[in-house]
Amino acid sequence: MGYWEFLVEYLPKLANGAVMTVMVMVCATLLAVTVSMVFGLMRLSSHFAIQGAATVYIEFFRGTSLLVQLYWIYYVLPLMGLTLSPFISGVLALGLNFGAYGAEIVRGGIQAVPRGQYEAALALNMSPFSRMRRIIIPQIYTIILPPAANLTVELLKATALVALITVVDLMFVAKQINATTWLSAQVFGTALIIYYAMARFALIPFLRWLELIAARKIGKA
């Protein structure tokens, strides 16, 4: 079978898989952003129990492998009475894992905001909450977006692992087609190209655009 016929026959299936990949990616990113913010802030808490809890969480998820966490959530949690669908398990594992990495980026971003900003907010008698929300957080986006963009590309790549817990994403469809046709070069080659195109021509330009917006908002563009 020529490559053209292969594409005509199997590209729609691979495209369906790619749509699922995007869905996993979007949901996991939303969860990861939330987790990063919460644990990044907790890490800076002056209360030692809150800070300790965040440190344990971050070290735990960064110290073990994503695949192990994924398998644990999908295969072991049901033994304890909590059964989650493959999709939810995948999103949860990805979100919690990348959230741990993101939390360190958020912490670094907050610490990089000049000290004078805190002092000025304090002098204006702002509450700690509004100081964070109105003064500090708006300034961290330009700092955290470049490393966060790298992490997001890593997340897109990591979504391929959810195929191993039977989420029908691009990788899963590719494995399926490979198992029935043995056209390995065509199917995995095409899958690689689709992943590359998603990262290079969609995700990275989008993240650059976000960086530009963030820079413009605080007048640095």
């Binding site: 492998s65 398998y71 295969y75 590309v153 191993l164 990788m171 390995s184 080659g189 990262a199 290079r200």
Partner: protein, 223 residues
């Protein structure tokens, strides 16, 4: 299902043996990555466009596609061209290439981190290019590259479970097999998690110490 200590105790020898394989895979993969990274970095730095453009594109491509798909690609496609690769060979080559592209970026950043004036001073002293690299540039680039190199050492270790999917008998593969044999997944998977934690946390801490020590040593030689 609750945790059974005697079962955990019983499977521990097999798990530890598999941990050896995991460490071996990480070590071999990292060695390949360190060398390949150097080659890719040099390829990107050559002034010939015919070489540096394709290398640049290759690095970009490998860096932005999933390791898992690459593993399957190498493992299944090589036999189509008559090359018989064992799971181990395919795994080591793929992981080596994948992390080699990351390391090439680390090296590139480190070399660019050495001030340009160092090159100019060496030229003024009439040093050869080789001597400049060996005695002036590389010793200064090394501490800049060290954190990145350390992170990817831990990174490669944490990505070795992916090798289980093509049948390398490392830790995750053994846990899967034990689960399938005994229908008990709780202990094997949990133990895998803790073994990873026990190895990667001290390694990461040791690397931070090493970075500090190297930075100190460099600071001392400079003054």
């Amino acid at each position: 299902m609750e945790w059974r200590w005697e079962f955990a105790w019983e499977i521990l020898p097999r798990m530890l043996w598999a941990t050896g394989n995991t460490l071996l895979a990480a070590g071999v993969g990292y060695t390949i990555a360190v060398v390949l990274g150097l080659v890719l970095m040099l390829g990107q730095r050559t002034p010939y466009r015919l070489i540096n453009m394709p290398v640049r594109e290759l690095v970009e491509f490998v860096r932005s596609t999933p390791l898992l798909v690459q593993l399957f690609f190498v493992f299944f496609v090589a036999p189509q061209f008559g090359i018989k690769l064992s799971a181990w060979t395919a795994g080591m080559l793929t992981i080596g290439l994948h992390f080699g592209t990351y390391l090439s970026e680390v090296y590139r950043g480190a070399l660019e981190g050495v001030p340009k004036s160092q090159w100019e001073a060496c030229r003024a002293l009439n040093f050869t290019t080789g001597y400049t690299y060996r005695r002036v540039i590389l010793p200064q680039a090394f501490p800049i590259a060290l954190p990145g190199m350390g992170n990817y050492l831990v990174g490669i270790f944490k990505d070795t479970p992916l090798l289980a999917t093509i049948g390398v008998a490392e830790l995750m593969h053994t846990a899967n097999a034990l689960g399938a044999e005994t229908y008990r997944y709780l202990e094997p998977y949990t133990m895998v998690g803790f073994i990873f934690l026990i190895i990667s946390l001290p390694t990461a801490m040791g690397l931070r110490r090493l970075e500090a020590a190297v930075a100190r040593a460099q600071g001392n030689t400079r003054h």
